[in-house]
Amino acid sequence: MESPAAPKRPARAALAAIALVALALAGGALAGAPASSDEPGAAGGSTAAAPASPARRVAAPHVGVELVAQDRSAAPARALRLGVRFLLEPGWHVYWKNPGDSGLAPRVRWKLPPGWTGGEIQWPVPERIAVGPLVDYGYSGDVLLPASVTPGSDAPPGGSARVAADVEWLVCREDCLPGRADLALDVPVAAGPAEPDREHAGAFAAALARLPRAASPGAITATADDRSIRVRVASPSAHSPPAGEVAFFPATPGLIDNAAPQEVVAGRDGLELVLRRSPQPQPLPARLDGVLVESSAGAGHALAVDAPLALASAPAPDAIGSAAGARPDVALSADGASFAAAIALAFAGGLLLNLMPCVFPVLSLKVLDFARQAGGDARRLRRHGVAYAAGIVLSFWILAGALLALRAAGGEIGWGFQLQSPAFVAFMALLLFALALSLLGIVDVGVAATGWAGRFAGGTGLAGSFSTGVLATVLATPCTAPFMGTALGAALVLPPVAALAVFTALAVGMAAPYVALAFAPGAVARLPRPGPWMESIKQALAFPLLATVIWLVWVRAEQGPTTAILALLSGILLVGMALWLVGRAGGAARPASRAARGAAVALAALGLAVAVAVPAPDRAGAPGDDGDALSAGSHGDWQPFSAARLESLRAAGRPVFVDFTAAWCLTCQVNERVALAAADVRRAFVARGVALLRADWTSRDPDIARALEGFGKAGVPLYVLFPSGDGDAPPEILPSLLTPRLVIEALGRLPLAGEGLASAATASGPRSRVP
């Protein structure tokens, strides 16, 4: 018979059990109290002296830290993967093994039972974290740092082992908090297959997927010079630039400038990443250690980099400069007679600039305008002439100032650098096209712009002449006349004041014809009277401008992917539409309506945006890549220039001819077609066993810029003939205007192919390098 009290006993027992469990849970929760206080600098931690209840997980300010195991048990002598997991509040991060510009990597110290060995953390691929002008490397969100521990082979199965880790970290958003926790895990030791702990399987899988994989041996090479470290990744399929972003994370702190952009150069056999070294003196490590990540559209793959770090066989300028004689000599020779030569060449170049199709139309219009004023005040004409010259001189000073300032700031640029920017090329093409259309009469901007044109045309109009000078200079920038390149190249290695003088000579040369006309007595009277012929001339002058546009489109094509041509021509079309709209909407008598003008401006802006939209890849392939059979020297013979290639060819005893050229350099193109492609010149190259290297400077290339600098030049063209042998004989620099005979004569001064190689073969000992 059940007494009424009997049923209460199980209930009471249950209540007691629940109470006990609750107490135990509370006790456990107290033991797992927050690891550190809010006080920065306090290395708070859960009590380290509490071996009784292991805290597997700890909640610290802004981060939760947890020690987890991949498997539910460990077996003797079998590695067990553990993980230290950080769960971070949004906006907060912890650091990678190299924290970057600031911060501190987390540190894990194992406290293992006897016989166990602990392993190193395997670091998942970090993120770049920008903190103002600084760059750190770390993790946000949820990150697990795997590390393996291995029980001793004599670990008693059936027991349980306490694995503890003393974890220290620094967690930051913008301000930083250090943290420390003692975490411990009781791991059963059992023989038998590993059974994954499903609770953490996902976190482990994510962490392991995020580990960099090993690169195939030899696939990654690294070289260093004074300023940069180049990481080359060989890739059989590489020919196009990498689809997404490529980034290198160095494992060695202080090696590279973390915040500097990493330039990617795609080549035929892979890609090259150029890292800027930290400018502080630091011994170079023997190996480059880090992670190379290529990511596109969210997915990415990462390679662990561990490659010997070789010194570049001699930094490019020194290798070439030393062969040319120590660089100071080259620079010094640029004073005295050379300075006078530079001034003379600049003046001549300036004169010739007036004949270039970019400048000629504007100048001609000015002369026409001049003719229109025939019979006017001679003094007024002279003043106009001076104003025009002032416009040109001032613009050249601004250009020179910008160029010198950029070079002083470390930019590796020379004259023509503006054309290495595809955006500039596109912009100039649009501008010249617009001018050509206005000359053709598509749009009568004079009427439409009565307001602001009136300001210039009214009164003395001196401002107008000045502005024409400025415009003429702007139009001159895409065109590099003969002599001009040499003069400016010389100018840029001169001290700033001397360089400015050379630029002034160029400006004066350019202004000279018009000024001469303005000052010539009676010249005005000799000019033909104004008449309808002026309209024809004006329209005809549109065609040189259009020819320049075509040339600029070609330059742009040489620089970038072929879609750039589509973009640029579309931009030209849009600008044409814009001008037509204004021209039609306006008329002889009234300016275009505001709506039409607005639409035109919008179209023109769209045209500009479309034209510059396609960026060029960092280095165009070798010139003539598109199989242009007419390209000079039959590109099959010409190899792309690199300092390493030059060295190896010379080391093999071959004479080398280097052609520094660019698509936008008219003189270079003419020289290549007239001289270098001539049949007898090519025969002479073969007879002397000369290796042909082409340095294509169409797009920005710091290597080539440095090589040019090594010869005391800052622009193209430059032709250098290196004799075979050990580098005792200095290389010969050929003139900027080549003829086939000139080249053949220079080659004639080389020994014949057989002799050269024989002498190279008998040469003994390492080549001495002039530092």
Binding site: D175, I413, E535
Partner: protein
């Protein structure tokens, strides 16, 4: 005639475009490296006001060895050196040797470590800090000119104005106060070598600390 004049006017009336084109040239410029005070180069000149309102320029201390300490009292790494009394000790021995020790704070207004001068004076007194001056660089110009990345970030400039040391204060990056005693202080070594006319053996070490709050 008129159309020619119009054309000429047109050609004249595009100076705006010309200016835009000229500025496009500057846009075409390649990126420049960030500024940094590099060992062996002249230390960038600066002129900053201290917490008492007095101006200090680097040129004022020509002929003397100058130590620049980028500071942020709330950064755990800086606290490691101040709570242990280490930094104050370094500052006092510097003063006794005639070395000019300047603490510089480049925290932007509103960011950690940026205080009004009154608060600074109180903090400096509380901590017993003894630099020759505490200089305020709230717009970060001097910090960026030197390439100061962390607090602490140390620079030692010799009497001729050349940077002879740039980087970490010691060789043990951590926030543990206990590490101060065992670490090798690179600034002390650099100052001692510079004062005795010897070249600095460890001229730079990657700086460690919290980021400077530009």
């Amino acid at each position: 005639m008129n159309s020619t004049a119009a054309v000429a006017r047109r050609a004249i009336a595009t100076p705006a475009l010309a200016l835009v084109a000229l500025s496009a040239l500057v846009v075409a410029a390649p990126s420049r490296a960030a500024a940094e005070a590099v060992v062996g180069s002249p230390a960038p000149a600066f002129s900053l006001t201290d917490i008492d309102g007095k101006p200090h320029a680097l040129a004022d201390y020509a002929g003397k060895v100058v130590v620049l300490e980028w500071v942020n009292y709330e950064c755990p790494f800086v606290r490691k050196h101040y709570d242990s009394g280490n930094m104050q000790q370094l500052q006092k021995s510097a003063a006794s040797e005639g070395v000019v020790w300047l603490s510089i704070n480049s925290s932007a207004p509103g960011k950690q470590g940026n205080y009004p001068p009154e608060t600074w004076k109180k903090l400096v007194a509380d901590k017993g800090a003894a630099p020759a001056a505490v200089l305020l660089d709230p717009d970060g110009k001097v910090g960026k000119a030197y390439g100061a990345k962390t607090t602490p970030h140390m620079f030692v400039v010799d009497g001729r104005g050349t940077v002879v040391y740039a980087g970490a204060i010691d060789d043990t990056p951590s926030t543990n106060v206990a590490d101060v005693k065992t670490a090798k202080n690179l600034v002390t070594a650099a100052v001692a070598e510079t004062r005795s006319g010897k070249p600095v053996t460890v001229a730079s070490a990657p700086p460690y600390g919290c980021s400077v709050k530009y």
